[in-house]
């Protein structure tokens, strides 16, 4: 029987032959289409004067009015973008670097059971909900009743408790550190897996050449981890304007909102609390458009400077 050449195969034939793979992909495609793409039709709300409970189709068309209100009338965009970018970029950078360093250090631990134990323990916070974390933070850091503040006052380090949860000047540091603590174990797994994939004969060759531990890390481990680092950076850059809503919902209060309120909280406030759906949708659209632009730009930059990209 003559073999069918590649040029003779149609797309549909290929798809038919790979139908099982496509069927495995199908549920994900349906879910993403249903819950991520179909709702985009709701973007229409941003251009209409939509009122809750009324028909969206019959609502009055207002064009760019909501966007004008956001940028011109309210001026809220300034502090919102600042807060969102500072905390998210700060979290991302710290998380990536700390996960990388943690993975490298863990890899260097010779006592394997100890390394595994540490890895497991650092993984636990990822599964703790932000509600529990907030309760813990409140118990530890409350101004008067927090254990840490009480201890520091009692030993004379402080005259008066630090209002970590309420004072806006601590907000950014608090959020960045909390997120890092929570996600460190989870993110380090990716780097640990990447380190495990490095051929061991490279390390042997380096040892023969007289490289010490630090030399091996600097010349072998780090360069091999760079592609992983870049990929994670690019992937996360698209989320720069998205914050973990639960985290900010719990930690934002009337005293620290100036430094703590992020875009997602703002959208929640205007959309679901004040029922101004049109305005909230407009802000959401802006967030999405900027995020897409950002991820494409960073991808291009990464391609240009490192010849590595994901798109």
């Amino acid at each position: 029987m003559a073999q069918t050449g590649v040029s003779g195969k149609t797309v549909f034939t290929k798809m038919y032959r790979q139908r099982m793979l496509f069927m495995m992909l199908l549920p994900s495609v349906i879910l993403i289409t249903t819950f991520q793409y179909l709702p985009l039709a709701g973007w229409m709300m941003a251009f209409k004067n939509y009122r809750v409970g009324h028909s969206l189709w019959n609502a009055e068309w207002v064009g760019w009015e909501q966007f004008r209100i956001f940028f011109v009338q309210s001026q809220d965009y300034a502090y919102l973008l600042r807060n969102t970018l500072v905390m998210n970029v700060g979290s991302l950078m710290l998380l990536l670097v700390s996960s990388l360093v943690f993975a490298i250090l863990l890899n260097e631990v010779r006592v394997r059971w100890f390394a595994k134990t540490v890895q497991t323990v650092t993984f636990f916070p990822f599964f703790i909900s932000w509600v529990i974390i907030y309760s813990l933070a409140s118990s530890l850091f409350a101004v008067n009743s927090g254990i840490v503040n009480q201890m520091l006052v009692n030993v004379g380090v402080l005259d008066h408790g630090l209002n970590v949860l309420g004072d806006a000047k601590y907000s950014w540091t608090l959020m960045i550190l909390m997120l890092d603590w929570k996600a460190l174990g989870y993110n380090s797994i990716i780097f640990i897996a990447a380190i495990a994939a490095i051929p061991p004969d490279l390390y042997e060759a380096a040892e023969i050449d007289g490289a010490g531990r630090f030399g091996k890390i600097w010349n072998i481990t780090l360069p091999y981890l760079m592609p992983t680092f870049i990929v994670i950076l690019i992937l996360n850059s698209g989320w720069i304007f998205s914050s973990d809503f639960e985290q900010f919902f719990l930690f934002t209060n009337s005293t620290n909102w100036e430094k703590m309120e992020v875009l997602d909280m703002y959208i929640y406030k205007y959309g679901l609390k004040l029922l101004n759906f049109s305005y909230a949708t407009a802000v959401g659209i802006l967030k999405t458009v900027i995020s897409i632009t950002l991820i494409l730009s960073i991808n291009q930059l990464a391609k240009k400077f490192t010849e590595k990209s994901i798109l």
């Binding site: 349906i30 009122r51 009324h54 309210s74 101004v143 309420g166 029922l275």
Partner: protein
């Protein structure tokens, strides 16, 4: 790939698809159907006049209260109502921001048959969305309802179509319900330490609490629950209601001057400024707990229960449970009492304090939604509840069980009633349980008694107040726990105040929410500012940029129009 593998693969795909497409299980179950039409009627000793009852009708009630029962017919009063009407209520407790929940329900189109909607702005949203159904068609057959609320119904009509869409639960008011007031709670041992001083002005409290803190350095000063969603908006500037010109009708961008009958800007009000100034002085003197800004009511109560707090600002009912806890901990002398407070200017003017008597209390608005399966039947029940018989049952309980009637026609509580009042967490009587959503008059009955005997002054004084509290009030020179709140006061009807509303979806409505938002955001800054005057001027400047006077002008215009055309 063989047929077995294909089958397994296909099954896996189908399972994933079906699980992803499963319905929303978060919505409360629609239990309003008559589930057991063949169920044997409850009343075997049938009321002669009603040989057959209609089908059992269970109505879900979303509530922020914490009832001890899930179904109303688990209580004694509920059983009577079930026997009489075959109507039952299923309580669905809710914790969290209730206004947010109301907004979400409206957006999702998921609401029960009867719904308490706190605030005219939200009521209007529900009306405009076509969710709230008009009640006018039922009024001709609702003689008791229209008789009891004849005076109030015009105030409950808030839309241009002049239709009635709601009832309000706790009107009318009587003086007995108005005291004590949401003023300031003080630990009684502190009063004793300083010789039972007469305190009224904010300055007097400031000096008193400074001394109290000096004598009790481990305490945390004054607590409050600013962390609640209504905390900053409703509490920070509240001192304006303690004088002779304003009553706290709402937490919006305005106050209503009952003397001039004019709406005025909230932040431009002198009493509001004094209120913030008092809190600022307290904070800078180290007398205001820093955690107050983030504390909600449970955290505040914990601090009161431990006796850490010297005092509490606002929220008169929050001391009841802590006082019980203090007694249980053997710290009876540290119990709290509510005391009146006024700003320095209010004391100097010495005008009779206005106590608001609600002709309309939008906070207690209840609507029937379009999801009501039998609105006519519901409103027949509402009509009966509005009768004397209904009010006595839901507020005083069953004659012979919870109260007896003396020769003078006045009701006397029984031990069962007393036990119920003193042990609210174990209550199964159902008395007062429906005050959250059913019409429940807070005024006096034809005999001059409160419908709910627990609010009769002599009953309340004995049952609700502890020995220590009564002793403290006596040492302060009061005749009873209420007398200090009834001196130099004047009742003020709300009239049209709460019936005048701005469409929340309009540009002025959105402006109003922005004005309130600005105030809420800047309240902590004002309270914590080292230089109050400078901080106040900055906030006022920012406030004026929003041109809030447009809101005030509109409200005054609408008020005059409504007054001219009732």
């Amino acid at each position: 790939m063989n047929w077995k593998q294909r089958t397994i693969g296909l099954a896996l795909v189908l399972i994933v698809i079906l699980s992803g497409c499963s319905g929303n299980t978060n919505a409360p179950p629609e239990t309003n159907e008559a589930v057991q039409p063949s169920e044997t009627p409850q009343s075997s000793n049938e009321a002669v006049q009603e040989p057959t009852l209609p089908e059992e009708y269970t109505i879900q009630i979303l509530t922020t209260q914490k009832p001890n029962v899930r179904f109303f017919d688990e209580t004694e009063v509920g059983k009577v109502i079930k026997e009489k009407f075959n109507i039952n209520f299923e309580f669905v407790p809710f914790t969290g921001d209730y206004r947010e929940k109301l907004s979400l329900m409206l957006a999702a189109g998921d609401y029960p048959e009867i719904l308490r909607v706190e605030g005219n702005d939200l009521v209007q949203q529900y009306i405009q969305a076509g969710v709230a159904i008009p009640l006018d068609d039922f009024l001709p057959d609702a003689a008791e309802f229209t008789k009891r609320y004849d005076h109030h119904i015009p105030y409950w009509i808030i839309t241009d179509d002049k239709k009635l869409y709601k009832w309000e639960v706790n009107v009318p008011y009587g003086l007995a319900r108005l005291a004590p007031l949401n003023d300031i709670a003080i630990r009684t041992d502190l009063l004793e330490q300083q010789g039972w001083p007469q305190l009224l002005s904010t300055d007097s409290y400031l000096e008193f609490l400074k001394e109290a803190k000096r004598l009790n350095p481990d305490s945390i000063g004054m607590v409050s629950n600013f962390g609640e969603s209504w905390g900053m908006a409703g509490v920070a500037g509240i001192m304006y209601e303690k004088g002779g010109r304003y009553v706290a009708w709402a937490n919006d961008a305005w106050v209503f001057n009952s003397i001039t009958e004019q709406y005025e800007d909230f932040l431009e009000n002198d009493y509001v400024r004094e209120s913030y100034q008092f809190l600022n002085a307290m904070y800078n003197a180290g007398l205001l707990d820093e955690e107050s800004f983030t504390d909600k009511t449970p955290q505040m109560r914990d601090k009161l229960s431990s006796g850490q707090a010297l005092s509490m600002f606002y929220n008169r009912n929050a001391i009841n449970a802590p006082n019980r806890d203090l007694i249980a901990a053997g710290k009876e002398n540290m119990q709290y009492i509510i005391m009146p407070i006024r700003t320095n200017t209010q004391v100097a003017r010495n005008e009779p304090r206005l106590l608001g008597v609600y002709d309309s209390d939008p906070f207690g608005s209840v609507i029937m939604t379009k999801n009501a399966k039998d609105p006519k039947r519901i409103f027949e029940f509402i009509d009966w509840v509005s009768s004397e018989e209904g009010q006595l049952l839901i507020q005083s309980g069953i004659e012979g069980v919870h109260y007896t009637v003396g020769a003078d026609g006045k009701r006397v509580p029984t031990q069962a009633f007393i036990d119920d009042v003193q042990n609210p967490n174990e209550s199964k009587t159902g008395i007062g349980l429906t005050a959250y959503f059913l019409p429940s008059s807070f005024a006096e009955d034809p005999n001059g008694q409160q419908y709910n005997l627990a609010f009769e002054p002599d009953v309340r004084g004995q049952l609700v107040y502890t020995d220590r509290q009564r002793e403290a009030y006596e040492k302060l020179g009061w005749d009873n726990p209420f007398s200090g709140f009834r001196e130099n006061v004047k009742l003020q009807s709300s009239g049209l105040v709460n019936s005048v509303t701005i469409d929340p979806s309009s540009s002025l409505g959105i402006l109003q929410s922005r004005v309130v938002e600005l105030r809420v955001r800047n309240s902590p800054k004002l309270i914590m500012a080292p230089n109050f005057d400078q901080a106040w001027d900055e906030v006022i400047a920012e406030h004026r940029k929003l041109e809030p006077q447009k809101i005030i002008n509109e409200l005054n215009t609408l008020y005059q129009m409504k007054k001219a055309n009732p």
